[in-house]
Amino acid sequence: MLKIENLHATVDGKQILKGLTLEIAPGEIHAIMGPNGSGKSTLSYVLAGREGYEVTEGSVTYKGQDLLAMEPEERAVAGVFLAFQAPVELPGVGNANFLRTALNAVRRAKGESEVDAIQFLKLARARMKVLNMPDDMLKRPVNVGFSGGEKKRNEMLQMAMLSPTLALLDETDSGLDIDALKMVADTVNSLRGPTFSALVITHYQRLLNHIVPDHVHVLSAGRIIRSGGPELAQELEATGYAASVAAA
C-alpha cells in the first residue's frame, strides 16, 4: 500500500527527514508519535506533495506507483488525504461548493458519475449529522470564522466525503475536547476496512484509545527510532519521549 524507504527531505535547505523507513499494509492503521519539531508534519506534507519540500534521497511508493512523481491533485484522486494540522481559511469560497467540486474531481478521476447539487447536499447532510456539524457550516466560506474544533470537524467531513484509501491525520486531535476527539475517532473507524489505511500523527495516547492502531512509531530528529504495538503508546504516555530518544 504505502512503502517509504530511507526518506530524506529538506525544507529551505534544512535537513528534516533523515532516513525514514515505514511500510503500511492495506487496512492497517499506524500511529506516529514524537516530540515537537521531529518532522511529523514534514512527513505528511512530503507525502501529500506540498511545494518547498525537497526529497534528497529515498523513495515512496503508493499502490505500486512512485508517489513522489505525482502532483498533489493526482495523489488526492489516487486516494491520499491529508487532514491538516492547521487548515487554511478561504474567504469567498463556499464550503458546499468547494466540497462538491472536490468530490466530483475525485469521482471523475475514478470514472464515477458526478453528483449534482441535490445529490451532493443529501450526501453532505447525512455525513454532517454523524459529525454533529450544523447545516450552516456548508453555507459559510471554507473555515472562515470556524473555531479550531469546527475546522477539524470540517477536515473530517472532507475525509468522509472523499473516502480516501490512505488518510494522513496530522495532529487532528490537538486542542479538541473529548466529544470532538470521539468524532475524529468515529470518522476514522467508520472508514476502516481492508482497503483503508491511515497514518495518525498525534502527541497523545488518548486518541489511540479510540482509534486502536496496528503499529506505533516514535519519530525523532527525522527518523523512526522505535516501533511497537498499541502498548508503546501507553508506555510513551507514562515515560515521555526522552527515554526512547536517549536509548536510540
Partner: protein, 436 residues
C-alpha cells in the same frame, strides 16, 4: 476633403473640419457652438501623453498612431442577438439600430440621440467637461449618435439593455457615442450595457455618458466591457446625483487591448449615495485602466468603491481613484478599496488612491493591496483532488467575490458572473467552482 491617412489628434480635427456641415445638429447653432468649443478643447489638449498627470500610467501612443476611418452604416444585418426578455437598445458601430432594438411598452422614453438632438438643448453637455477631459472633447467634436433615456418622476423603469457592437472592418472605425440618462425625482432604472466586437477588429470606441440622477432617484449602471482584443475602449462617464439619489456603477473591464474606464461622479445634494465597483480581468497583451473621481459636494453623502484587478500574462492594470471632499460636505462617509491579483511575474499594476479632504467632520478611508495567489490555499485545494488550473480559478473567483457581491442589482450580478466565467474559458480554464 479629409486627411484620412494621417494619425493622431490632427486626423480627428481634420475629420471634424471635413464633416462639419454633415454632422448631426449641423443646422442647430447651439450644437455647432458646442462642437466648436469641443474642437478647440481637443485641439488644445490633443491625445494626452503620460506627462499629463491623469494619464501617467496609460499610454495612448497606440491610439495616436493608428489610422482610423469612418464607420460604415448599416453593414451588418446578419447580427443574431439572443433574446433575453429585456428591453434593449442596440448600437452597431456607434449607430442606433431601431431594427435590432426592442423598446415597446416602456413607461419612459428611449430615443436615438441623432433623432432627439433638436430637443436636447440645455441637456446635452450639461455634465460633461470637455475642457478637462480630452476624450470627452474628442467625443463632443465628433459624436453622431447615442442613447437618450428619460425616466419620468416616480417611474420604476426596470431593466434596459444597451448593446454596443463593433463589426469587422478593415477601416479601423472610430466612433464617439454620447449617451444621456436622466432620472427624474424618485425614478429608478437598471441599465446593463454590453460593449463587444470581433477579436480581430481594430476600432476605437469612445463613449461619453452624461447621467443625471434627481432627488431620491436610483440608477443602477452595469457595464460589461468585452470589446475585441484589438480594440481601443476609452470611456468617460459623468454622473451628477441630487439629494437622496443613488448612482450605482459596476464595470467589468475585460476586453480591448487598451481600455480606460473613467468615471466622474458628483454627489451634489445631501444624502446622495454612490457605489462604484468593478472588476478588471486583464490577459496577456492587454492594458486596463479604471480611473474614478468622486466629488463629495454636499453633506451627509456616502460613497463606496471596491475594485479588483486580476492580471495574467504580460499585462498591465491601472487603478486611480480620487475622492474630493469639499468644505460643505460634512459627515461624508467615503470608502475606497482596490486590490490586485498578479497571476504572472510579467503582469504589472499601478495604483494611485488620492484623498483630498477640506471638511473636518468626515469618515474617509482607502486601502490597496497587491498580491499573488496564496500557495497554501492552492495546495489545500489541490490536496483535495482539484486540478491546478481549476484551483486557481476558484481562488480568483473568491478574490472577485467581494466586488461582485457589492452589486445590489441582481440582473447585473447575473450578467457579470456569466461574463467572468466566459473570460475564464477564453483563458483556457475549464471552469471554477461547482455550485452546490
Amino acid at each position: 476633403m479629409t486627411a484620412v491617412n494621417t494619425t493622431g489628434a490632427g486626423a480627428f480635427l481634420a475629420r471634424h473640419e471635413g464633416l462639419r456641415a454633415r454632422l448631426p445638429g449641423a443646422g442647430l447653432p447651439w450644437v455647432v457652438a458646442m462642437r466648436e468649443a469641443a474642437a478647440a478643447a481637443f485641439r488644445a489638449q490633443g491625445f494626452p501623453t503620460r506627462r499629463v498627470e491623469a494619464w501617467r500610467y496609460t499610454d495612448l501612443a497606440a491610439v495616436n498612431g493608428t489610422v482610423f476611418g469612418e464607420a460604415l452604416t448599416g453593414v451588418d444585418d446578419a447580427l443574431a442577438l439572443p433574446a433575453t426578455g429585456n428591453s434593449r437598445a442596440v448600437f452597431v458601430d456607434g449607430r442606433f439600430r431601431a431594427d435590432l432594438s426592442t423598446l415597446d411598452g416602456l413607461g419612459y422614453t428611449v430615443e436615438s440621440l441623432a433623432v432627439a438632438l433638436p430637443s436636447l438643448e440645455g441637456r446635452l453637455g450639461a455634465v460633461a467637461r470637455p475642457a478637462e477631459q480630452a476624450l470627452a472633447a474628442l467625443n463632443g467634436m465628433l459624436f453622431e449618435d447615442g442613447l437618450v433615456v428619460t425616466v419620468p418622476a416616480g417611474v420604476a423603469g426596470g431593466v434596459l439593455e444597451l448593446l454596443s457592437f463593433a463589426t469587422l472592418s478593415d477601416r479601423a472605425p472610430a466612433y464617439h457615442p454620447r449617451h444621456l440618462v436622466r432620472l427624474a425625482e424618485g425614478a429608478s432604472l437598471t441599465l446593463i450595457e454590453t460593449a463587444a466586437g470581433p477579436a480581430a477588429a481594430r476600432y476605437l470606441h469612445n463613449p461619453v455618458f452624461e447621467i443625471e440622477v434627481a432627488a431620491r432617484a436610483r440608477f443602477n449602471h452595469g457595464r460589461l466591457q468585452q470589446e475585441g482584443l484589438d480594440a481601443f475602449f476609452l470611456s468617460t462617464v459623468y454622473a451628477a446625483v441630487a439629494e437622496g439619489g443613488t448612482y450605482d456603477n459596476f464595470t467589468l473591464n475585460a476586453g480591448a487591448r487598451l481600455a480606460r474606464n473613467e468615471i466622474h461622479v458628483a454627489l451634489a445634494g445631501p444624502k446622495a449615495e454612490c457605489h462604484m465597483n468593478g472588476v478588471q480581468l486583464v490577459a496577456d497583451g492587454q492594458h486596463a485602466d479604471t480611473t474614478t473621481a468622486l466629488d463629495h459636494a454636499a453633506p451627509d453623502c456616502a460613497s463606496r468603491q471596491t475594485y479588483k484587478t486580476v492580471l495574467a500574462g504580460r499585462s498591465r492594470g491601472v487603478f486611480q481613484g480620487k475622492i474630493l471632499v469639499r468644505k460643505v460636505a460634512q459627515k461624508t462617509d467615503g470608502y475606497q478599496m482596490n486590490q490586485a491579483l498578479l497571476l504572472s511575474p510579467d503582469a504589472e499594476i499601478d495604483s494611485k488612491p488620492q484623498l483630498e479632504i477640506y471638511a473636518d467632520d468626515v469618515k474617509c478611508s482607502h486601502g490597496a493591496t497587491v498580491g499573488e495567489l496564496d500557495a497554501d490555499n492552492l495546495f489545500f485545494l489541490r490536496s483535495r483532488g482539484i486540478p491546478l488550473e481549476q484551483a486557481k480559478a476558484i481562488l480568483v473567483e473568491a478574490f472577485l467575490t467581494e466586488a461582485v457581491e457589492a452589486v445590489a442589482d441582481e440582473a447585473i450580478r447575473a450578467a457579470l458572473s456569466g461574463a467572468v466565467s466566459g473570460w475564464w474559458q477564453r483563458q483556457g480554464v475549464a471552469g471554477g467552482i461547482e455550485v452546490a
